[in-house]
């Protein structure tokens, strides 16, 4: 009698991997806090929706992905882009609407995409990502690449027909797809405890014949472990998984949101639950990584964000001639 067991991948993270994860989370945090500050100056066009507080989700999931894999994001997509390896300077330029941006400044915050990195795009359509991932997962399955598709979506999107149809399709076709429901408690200003009939989004997985699990979204190690198992399962032909990641976003739904619908939960989360604080305490407490090494990452990331903002501000805007480029895309 023998059994093949899944590996508890968290226990195998090297010091280098831990530093990489910290760098990704810190980059997301500093990127978002800087966009928060810069948006207030009025220089950034359009809307921005910030991912601060949710870093462990994008990082914990995307740290298992490689060039075979694709992700679909949401309107709150900066964290997913950074975690999937999209160039930070190009992202900042895109948010400023500049020609040097990821999409030549024509998309802005809600449409950052980089197909070369397997980042299919932030998405202004709530529930727009899951159907895309069924497509990319079907392609990976048909072509036998071993790739997977990951759809990030929020608690609001969990109630959309597109999401529910995608869960069904992924299960019927046994697709290598992972659905990551990022439940930050509010769809704009509507509490998920009110608007999600089953209360736990993960509970819906059973109805589609796939595993559904809940993880603490403030805990990188919890997300990393659950995502690792789901992605391994998908790569090996085991089919789709729904992971519900629970946490709190630190900023409003969009920049400018007065947040009259929630009380002091953000202060509590920042103080007691913050993913970066907890990560630092645990990896330095165990001796795997030193405070000095993490401080060095902080400095390097701060310099990167400063440079990204400065270069974005200096970059040219799209010209009149750019109006007729990127209109049609051939695949």
């Amino acid at each position: 009698m023998t059994g093949t067991l899944p590996t508890q991948a968290t226990g195998e993270l090297s010091a280098e991997s831990l530093l990489d994860a910290y760098r990704t989370m810190r980059t997301i945090r500093m990127f978002e806090e800087r966009v928060h500050d810069e948006f207030a100056t009025g220089e950034i066009p359009g809307f921005v929706h910030l991912y601060a507080g949710e870093e462990a989700s994008a990082t914990g999931v995307c740290s298992h992905l490689d060039d075979r894999d694709a992700i679909a994001s949401t309107h709150r997509g900066h964290g997913h882009c950074i975690a999937k390896g999209v160039d930070v300077k190009a992202m900042m330029a895109e948010i400023y609407g500049k020609r040097t941006g990821s999409c030549q400044g024509k998309g802005g915050s809600m449409h950052i995409a980089d197909l070369s990195k397997g980042m299919l795009g932030a998405n202004g359509i709530v529930g727009g990502g899951p159907p895309l991932i069924c497509g990319t997962a079907l392609a990976a399955k048909q072509q036998g690449t071993g790739g997977v598709g990951v759809a990030f979506f929020g608690d609001g999107a969990s109630n959309q027909g597109t999401t529910l149809e995608s869960l069904n399709l992924a299960s019927v076709w046994n697709l290598p797809a992972i659905f990551v429901a990022e439940n930050n408690g509010y769809a704009e200003a509507t509490a998920s405890t009110w608007s999600v009939a089953s209360d736990n989004i993960a509970d819906r997985a059973a109805g589609f014949g796939m595993p559904g699990v809940i993880v603490d979204g403030f805990d990188f190690f919890a997300v990393h472990e659950a995502a690792g198992e789901a992605i391994t399962r998908a790569r090996e032909g085991g089919g789709p998984t729904l992971i519900e990641v629970k946490f709190t976003r630190y900023f409003g739904h969009f920049e400018g949101d007065q947040q009259t619908y929630r009380a002091d939960e953000v202060a509590n989360a920042r103080e007691n639950l913050d993913c970066l604080k907890r990560f630092r305490e645990r990896v330095t407490g165990g001796g795997e990584v030193t405070d000095e090494a993490l401080d060095t990452v902080d400095s390097e990331v701060a310099a990167l964000i400063d440079a990204a903002v400065a270069e974005a501000k200096d970059a040219p805007k799209p010209s009149q001639a750019d109006l007729e480029t990127d209109v049609y895309v051939s695949y």
């Binding site: 023998t2 226990g11 509970d203 190690f221 919890a222 990393h224 795997e288």
Partner: protein
């Protein structure tokens, strides 16, 4: 006997919204225990308590939808339905959505007069409720992933047993059994386990669950049943120790190719795996054992709980003074013996 309880008699019900949701649904096909079913169980308990005339239920609150579903049921009950106790919702100033909610809720219920605490969850939930219960009888009902401690029981029957104990129709010595527990000291933290404590080489608590035996080095159990589920099933097959005995068991684990015994054990729902056992011995009550690591994760009742990085090794000790748990079978046997659920009619209507 029916409907004869003092109307002031109070039963507390605490239901964990997070139980039955962890990664073992992904790695081991563990069962899903939906919110709706937990709320249904509460309603079945209330129905049984109402029949016994229990006047008041203190119900836990949560953000997972259980208490909301119970509130909806309370508000939509019809006059034609059998009466329920008054259901009061035990609200905390702030729900933390952590084990602390269960602790605070149980303490409040006991302070407010609950004579029995019914707890819906798995081993983890029962452990937390037990630590807060003091001497108040506890009835753990299984709605979790790994359920070595709570028995699988129909909630209606459990409700009857809880109501009979709360109403003092069956005396506490007959109705309850004192469980053992393991006390773990790791640095400044103290934890309790109702079933097992395990030392794991993983560095982080991560997603909490344990499913890879290659990471386990030491195991201590309050009891070990041959038909158990979870880590205690390993000694359950090798050196069984019934719940009723004061002794527990202690095992050193290792790679199957270097172990004297390899037990094919159901260490989690859906996972029957080979576990290497280097040695196995009885664990005596009061014996304090120093664990063989200063750096590692300690799991209690099947869940990674503590990341221990102390200068000194953690210790574990088997204590005989665990929670006082209601023995549903014993209560209903006593009820049958005393006719507590049986009416005798002196002039029954003759069948036509």
């Amino acid at each position: 006997m029916l409907a004869s309880a003092d109307p002031a008699t109070t039963v507390g019900i605490v239901a964990n919204p997070a139980s039955g949701r962890d990664i073992r649904r992904l790695v081991a096909q563990a069962s899903v225990f939906p919110t709706a079913e937990k709320a249904n169980m509460v309603q079945r308990i209330c129905g049984a308590l109402g029949v016994l005339g229990i006047g008041r239920v203190l119900m836990s609150t949560d953000l997972g939808g259980i208490s909301a579903a119970v509130l909806r049921a309370v508000r939509t009950r019809r006059d034609s339905e059998a009466p329920w106790p008054e259901v009061e919702f035990c609200e905390l100033d702030r729900l933390t959505e952590s084990a602390a909610d269960t602790t605070h809720m149980v303490r409040r219920m006991i302070d407010a007069g609950a004579r029995v605490i019914i707890c819906l969850g798995g081993d983890g939930t029962a452990r937390v409720a037990a630590a807060a219960c003091g001497d108040t009888p506890l009835l753990p009902l299984s709605t979790g992933t790994n359920n070595a401690f709570p028995r699988l029981r129909e909630a209606t029957v459990a409700g009857l047993a809880a109501g009979l104990v709360a109403a003092r129709a069956v005396d506490v010595p007959t109705a309850t059994r004192r469980a053992s527990m393991l006390e773990v000291h790791a640095g400044e933290r103290t934890e309790f386990a109702l079933v097992d404590v395990c030392v794991c080489t993983a560095r982080y608590v991560g997603s909490r669950a344990l499913w890879d035996p290659a990471t386990l080095t030491e195991l201590y159990c309050t009891f070990a049943e041959p038909d158990g589920i979870g880590l205690s099933s390993v000694p359950g097959q090798l050196c069984p120790s019934p719940r009723e005995k004061p002794d527990g068991v202690a095992l050193r684990l290792g790679p199957p190719d270097r172990a004297r015994h390899v037990v094919h054990a159901p260490i989690a729902p859906g996972l029957v795996v080979p576990v290497g056992v280097l040695d196995c011995r009885p664990l005596r009550p009061g014996e304090r054992v120093e664990l063989g690591t200063t750096h590692g994760v300690l799991a209690v009742d099947g869940e990674r709980e503590l990341e221990h990085r102390g200068a000194h090794p953690a210790t574990v000790c088997l204590r005989p003074d665990g929670p006082r748990c209601i023995d549903v079978s014993a209560v209903l046997r006593a009820a049958a013996h005393q006719g507590l659920l049986t009416d005798i009619q002196l002039n029954p209507t003759e069948a036509a």
